[in-house]
């Protein structure tokens, strides 16, 4: 069988020692139905002499029964495992295959090309270092090719081999090969691959699979196996920041407290200073404990147990990081989600989100758009169905430690579990936190206006509506508040109705009382702005000085004066509450506009002329103003 190494027969001890130092590569094969994936893997196993005699005998029998290759051995039968697949002649799930050469051990994820099985491809790609994309030379780059390339790039695979297969059917025509290569490289520009290698191939006959083909003398590159044996995927350099997600707390007795986990990136040495995210606690590494003895240094991929010099509280779900380079932490993210369940994703619904070591309740707060994987365009969507990919914002019930997926696959990925069925219904890749903690000293971070408003995803502001009675202030203010609510903002409206009856019920309408009225309203509004709210005040507020006083209570740009300009005669004609009539009749004293002065604003931020503009238009204009001036510039909704 394998390893026709003379050493096996000659010196088995030397052989075993040599074999111990093999490296390891995981790759995925993908392509459309009938592009020949299973045949290719069967060919790799067959040519590497990895098929046992009894397996081969069985395949020969089966080939006659259900093979699709006439008299040739149908190598695809080697890898198409499940009975249902054999009948349909297609692969319906991810199958893992193992083979090794003298240089490397390989794990191949054989993934299906059929359109509804995107999720299986993502599964295979999630652990792959290299993707082998098959293209049938007869058809060139297909929709499926684009989809598969997109998915493997989304899952962070950096090295791609484009296996242009079935070249035997066109007599290894170089121009056909070139055309496909150019087309692929063109659309793949959008996909962030580190390296693309194209190989002309016939999996059926073995050209350029394990050995260089004589049928394509114009091709000077490596055969597929040659490429796989030599590709350098250790991008994970030792310089990457240290991360160890704590998986299990190791406590055999009161004298030992260790933290077990698999190192997600970087290296750690005894004595290194560490910080625990999200708690922010610090210590340094006392020992790196393993069954085989303590180590001085450990690197990415190793499963170890750390003990620390201080007794600090660490539990599963925490990530131990290098002190000067901690991971981020947040409870709100933007992330790509790939949906994997028949029942659709609904924004707002509670699911469980599981990262490498932590499970928290979470919901999609907003589905920004779906990605059309044929042309990578953004499509508006209300839900995500099976195999659909979307860009979403997520809200978690507790903060988690993480890194963006494109920086660290291990600490930037998560799965979504349905609470009722316990099924894995989706998977995601974190792009960035929506609420960024600018530095890592969270325990020192005060809760202040900036933090509160960041949490509400807005810049707090006081919108001060002034104008005559009946000018339409409250009508417009209510419409503005409604529109802001629709945009997911946090608001509150202060007006005569809710202030005069409580807080200010001791005040009348004399000039002194009017001033005190506005002062109190200004103070309350200031507290609300401090709480991070977009606060709306709707009062006649006739005197410039009082409005100026309210403005003075707030920081720059936190006071927006809105003058609802309705001429007295128009307001009096409207007289919605019948107040003008009463004032004219002398039943109400000190009524603004009748027997009390109204001082129109000189330079209001916004002026609304209700004679020329409807209330709805006015409200729209005000929201547009807020948008334009950055008051709503948290994340986009």
């Amino acid at each position: 069988m394998s390893h026709m190494d003379d050493l096996i027969a000659k010196d088995i001890h030397a052989y075993l020692t040599a074999q111990e130092h093999k490296s390891f590569l995981r790759f995925i094969t993908c392509g459309s139905v009938d592009d020949g994936k299973s045949t290719l893997i069967g060919r790799l196993l067959y040519d590497a002499k990895l098929i046992y005699e009894d397996q081969l005998a069985k395949i020969e029998t089966d080939s006659k029964k259900s093979g699709t290759q006439g008299d040739k051995i149908d190598l695809a039968l080697l890898v198409d495992g499940l009975a249902a697949e054999r009948e349909q002649g297609i692969t319906i799930d991810v199958a893992y295959r193992f083979f090794s050469t003298d240089k490397r051990k390989f794990i191949v994820a054989d993934t299906p090309g059929h359109v509804q099985y995107t999720r299986n491809m993502a599964t295979g790609a999630s652990t792959a270092d290299v993707a082998v994309l098959l293209i049938d030379a007869r058809y060139g780059v297909q929709d499926q090719t684009r989809r598969h390339a997109y998915i493997v790039s989304l899952l962070g695979v950096k090295h791609v081999v484009v296996a242009i297969n079935k070249m035997d059917l066109n007599g290894f025509d170089q121009s056909i090969y070139n055309e496909i290569e150019v087309e692929f490289r063109e659309f793949a520009k959008a996909l962030n691959f580190a390296e693309i290698t194209c190989i002309p191939m016939s999996a059926l006959d073995g050209d350029n699979v394990t050995t260089q083909s004589e049928n394509a003398p114009w091709y000077k590159g490596p055969s597929l196996l040659d490429y796989l044996e030599h590709v350098d995927v250790n991008a994970a350099s030792l310089d990457a920041p240290f991360r160890m997600p704590v998986q299990w707390v190791n406590r055999p007795n009161l004298n030992f407290r260790g933290f077990s986990g698999t190192i997600a990136s970087g290296t750690v040495s005894v004595g290194d200073e560490i910080i625990v995210i999200p708690s922010g606690k610090r210590s340094s590494v006392k020992e790196i404990v393993t069954y085989g003895g303590n180590k001085d240094v450990a690197v990415e991929g190793m499963a170890v147990t750390l003990t620390l010099t201080d007794e600090i509280d660490i539990s599963r779900g925490d990530i131990i990081c290098r002190k000067d380079h901690p991971s981020e932490q947040s409870d709100q993210f933007q992330a790509h989600i790939l949906w994997m369940d028949e029942r659709e994703l609904y924004p707002g619904r509670q699911y469980l989100l599981k990262t490498t070591n932590k499970t928290v309740p979470a919901s999609v707060s907003n589905l920004k758009h779906r990605v059309d994987i044929n042309d990578f365009s953004e499509v508006a969507a209300k839900t995500l169905g099976l195999n659909e990919i979307g860009v979403t914002t997520l809200s978690l019930s507790a903060p988690i430690a993480f890194d963006p997926y494109n920086i660290n696959r291990n600490t930037g990925s998560f799965i979504i579990i349905d609470k009722q069925t316990n099924q894995t219904v989706g998977v995601g890749m974190i792009e960035y936190a929506l609420r960024r903690a600018s530095n890592v000293v969270w325990q020192d971070l005060d809760v202040n206006k900036a933090v509160r408003s960041e949490q509400k995803n807005q810049k707090p502001v006081l919108l001060w509506f002034t104008g005559l009675s009946g000018s339409g202030k409250s009508t417009i203010a209510n419409l503005v508040e409604k529109k802001l609510l629709d945009l997911g903002r946090h608001t509150y409206t202060l007006d005569g109705d809710n202030v005069r009856h409580g807080l200010n019920r001791d005040l009348g309408f004399t000039k002194e009382d009017r001033v005190e009225n506005i002062r109190r309203i200004g103070e309350v509004a200031r507290l609300m702005v401090d709480a991070g709210l977009i606060t709306i005040a709707s009062f006649i507020s006739p005197y410039r000085a009082e409005r100026q006083m309210a403005r003075g209570l707030l920081a720059e740009r936190e006071f927006v004066e809105i003058y609802v300009n309705t001429p007295l005669d128009v307001a009096e004609k409207r007289d919605v509450k019948g107040l003008y009539a009463k004032a004219r009749a002398g039943e109400i004293k000190n009524f603004t506009g009748i027997d009390s002065e109204y001082q129109a604003p000189k330079n209001p931020e916004i002026e609304v002329n209700t004679v020329k503009m409807s209330a709805d238009k006015a409200a729209e204009m005000i929201v547009a103003y807020l948008e334009k001036h950055g008051y709503l510039s948290g994340f986009e909704t």
């Binding site: 054999r86 090794s100 993502a122 991929g301």
Partner: protein, 368 residues
Amino acid sequence: MSLITDFIARAEVFAKESGQSLSTVSRKLLNDGKGLSRLKEGGQCTLKTLDAARAKLSKMEVELTVNSSLNMTHLDRLEAESIHIMREVAAQCDNPVMLYSVGKDSSVMLHLAEKAFYPSKPPFPLMHVDTTWKFKEMIEFRNRRAKAVGMDLIVHINQDGVRDGVGPFTHGSAVHTDVMKTQGLKQALDAHKFDAAFGGARRDEEKSRAKERIFSFRSEAHRWDAKNQRPELWNIYNTRVNKGESMRVFPLSNWTELDIWQYIYKEKIDIPSLYLSKKRPVVEKDGVLILVDDDRMPIGPNEKVEEKMVRFRTLGCYPLTGAVESEAVTLPDVIQEMLLTTTSERQGRVIDQDAGASMEQKKEEGYF
């Protein structure tokens, strides 16, 4: 001139030690895949180019030495993955158990469990479903190992089967395996209400195994639904089950038979001596050599007990496990023989010689 020769020699050593091809190294050093071979054939380059390339090579050499001291071999990676899986179960499942079948895979799994939780003992018991027809040595070995590791050992025997006198000779292999093994296992898992059970199965063993998840969900009736498996991405495992449902967890999924043997050799793991050849009394039945392990073995009039140098490639019920004639008396001998042999492992197991998808069917019915 000697600068160039020296440079080429160093580059060649580097290529060999880093496992990269000379053209790859050439590309990295000279930005030209054929550069080195041209220099080798007497080609020239400017001093400036050479100096830059030599500096680059020195840097790559340093990186290589640092890397190789920390490089993980494929066995290191498999080991780390298995440990990660075991810790995940210990941290997430309420009542896990490790199924221990006494074979070489179980031995590796037990060894990995010791490593995963060191200095703690593995936080779960071992369980062996005893069909009462196992090799005598397996039982002795099992008891000895459990004691040495210090883990609790649960032994379950299907008493219904014992009452009905079920055995491979009287009832045939299918009925015996179903009653004593499959039903016995279900009884034991139900009785102890285990929500996760480790098994030593590997994906390379058999085709339907190649598609099974590492965390494989089982319904309340212990059924496996091949078409409704949970997606398994990265190293994030969904361990959630409802009451009565359970997981089978396969920490050795990505190991191959050769990996197992190499690891046993490297880590000096204790395995039953049945794997090594020695003179043993056997009888040939239907072309398969069966060990006469006790006096329950019926010897037909045309059969005779012979002493032969034999060993076993898998261990199970002795009447259902064929011996192979062999001179391999040490572990390296066994590995050597395995590498030179050309029949796959499960051929020795009587249970597999049915129709193509039999294992898949058995698993749907609850066979491990």
